[in-house]
């Protein structure tokens, strides 16, 4: 699928149309780097220093006292979540991660996405309890302090709302940025106790093949989860990126159900009940069901399927001039590791393989990168991911053949379809402006 050809006169090898450069130029291999440097790509970067450099004021004074808890630089105050319900009115709040302003794969705790029915509860950890009961041999109740003494594991996993990327199901491309379209997705290092460790102590009645997990928040949000999954890799997370789980992400503990839709990762977890069949909670019979083509809606659709999108460039990140840019983005799958990401700059006609930042972890965000020389002409950027289970990210037409095509346009805060993992296209015009586009 990829086109590989040599450029003229020492220019970097182009692997696909419109300036996509071989990913190995990132790896510091002499010949390829020398080739890249030999072009006009870096001209504008080397032509800046025309007068003597001043000594800046911060180099001539003492700094600010180090605070007990650090905050981002004051110049980065625009790197925040977008919050749909800042006054906490009687409706769900969506807080979205600004992926276009971040890089790497780990989401800072204050920027982790949130979907919450009634804000976040003020839970006293000294009074919080976790109960495991139902079809178990010995129901048990745990304090936070007791759980913190159990053997723990640390795992890096993404959490993604089942309805993330729903704006891609609009009839026309929503003019929105990557935060609005893909911001209900985050990735953290979670540390906690494996649920199987606790179920070893309660024992399991053979009739118990599902469990319900319930939060201690006002609405007692609950979901049913198959026991098979619970025994595989589910954990009760106490820590998020090294510190206790953030209040809006479930303090003092949340369920982590790697790869499954975010709503199942119950926040403020206080009860697990083993049951024979799904409880038919509102969040699995009304929300988180998917009306597709055909007479029956889908439910119990759990894994977030393989997806990728480009974060840089993306809408709002205008290219100021032709020249070298790194195309960067995120890829992930609820079914395992990312195996491959291809990038196109001509709307999917030709593709080059992106470099994947190591380590590539199962059910975690993977950062992909692709060197690119933009010649100033209009282009359409796309990325397409494959996972180790053999799944690939569908085109819009491939998905709509199964689910039916969108007929209307709704606001980006509405959720016309879930589990939307189709390819995202960014169109860049000759002024460098980036817009969401359907290729």
């Amino acid at each position: 699928m990829s086109i590989r050809k040599r450029g003229h006169g020492g220019s970097p090898p182009e692997v696909a149309a419109n300036g996509l450069i071989d990913r190995r130029t990132l790896l510091g291999r002499g010949a390829l780097i020398a080739g890249a440097m030999g072009t006009g790509v870096t001209t504008s970067l080397t032509s800046a220093a025309a007068e003597p450099l001043p000594v800046d004021p911060w180099s001539m004074e003492i700094g600010t006292a180090i605070p007990p808890y650090g905050q981002p630089a004051k110049y980065e105050m625009n790197v925040v979540r977008t919050v749909t319900n800042p006054k906490n009115e009687p409706r769900t709040t969506q807080a979205r991660t600004p992926h276009h302003l971040l890089n790497g794969t780990i989401t800072p705790n204050g920027l982790h996405f949130v979907v919450s029915r009634t804000g976040f509860p003020d839970i006293d950890p000294a009074k919080h309890r976790l109960v495991i009961h139902g079809l178990v041999k010995k129901p048990l109740i745990f304090t936070v302090e007791a759980l913190a003494r159990y053997p723990m594991v640390s795992r890096i996993h993404f959490v993604e709302c089942g309805a993330n990327s729903a704006p891609l199901y609009n009839k026309d491309p929503a003019q929105a940025n990557v935060q609005a379209i893909h911001g209900l997705l985050s990735c953290s290092e979670w540390t906690g106790v494996r649920l199987s460790t606790l179920l070893d102590e309660t024992g399991i009645d053979p009739k118990g093949t599902w469990l319900l997990a319930e939060g201690a928040d006002g609405p007692s949000m609950n979901r049913s989860i198959p026991l098979t999954k619970a025994l595989d890799d589910v954990m009760i997370a106490l820590y998020q990126n090294g510190e206790r789980v953030a209040p809006s992400n479930g303090y003092p503990m949340r369920l982590l159900v790697p790869g499954y839709e975010g709503n199942m990762n119950v926040k403020w977890l206080h009860r697990i009940k083993l049951i024979e069949q799904p409880v038919e909670a509102i969040n699995e019979t009304m929300q988180y069901t998917y009306r597709v083509a055909g007479p029956k809606a889908w439910r119990y659709f759990f894994p977030m399927e393989v997806k990728s999108f480009i974060t840089h460039p993306s809408p709002g990140l205008t290219l100021k001039e032709p020249g070298f840019y790194e195309i960067a983005g995120l890829a992930y799958s609820g079914n395992g590791r990312i195996r491959k990401v291809l990038v196109s700059a001509d709307g999917g006609k030709s593709w080059g393989e992106a470099a994947l930042d190591a380590p590539v972890l199962s059910k975690a965000l993977t950062r992909f990168r692709m060197p690119w020389h933009w010649n100033g002409q209009p282009v359409v950027l796309q990325s397409k991911a494959w996972d180790e289970a053999g799944n690939w990210q569908p085109t819009r037409n491939e998905m709509f053949a199964v689910r039916g095509a969108p007929k209307v346009n709704v606001p980006v805060t509405a959720f016309p379809m879930g589990h939307m993992n189709v390819i995202t296209s960014w169109a860049i015009d000759n002024k460098g402006e980036v817009k969401h586009f359907y290729a």
Partner: protein, 167 residues
Amino acid sequence: MRNCLPVVGAFAIAFGSAMAVAGDGPGLGKSVTGADLALWDISIGPDGVGLPPGSGTPAQGAVVFAQKCEACHGKEGKGGISAALAGAKRNVGNYVPHATTIFDFTRRAMPWQQPKSLTNDEVYAVTAYILALNKIIGENDVMNAETLPKVHMPNRDGFVSRYPEKH
């Protein structure tokens, strides 16, 4: 050392599961009984197991609804700042497959400002009112632990499960 192994094994068997628990993990959970969990164990399955005593009619529910639900859900549940409960193309009455879900969610999560403040009679009554607004039950039907699970919801067979998933 080898000679000790059979002795350890016999010890664990003789003292049963308590020793097995102590040997397998930290054992820091405390035993809890069903009575301890009476206020916590609020989930109700589609078979109705867990439904509490009490009852309510649509007429009784209309009174509660006007006081505690209408401000958000609109007159006769037609919708407002919060979702429509009747009269919409897709609402809880014409979409969820079992009526128990309406009782369960209302009891655990509503009213929005004061979840879990309704009595069981009030929850039965509001559930009956919502079902009557959707013309699923009659104006005089009484909802209780026996009748509610038997309500046939119009979208009862409207779903297909994607689990277990195929890779």
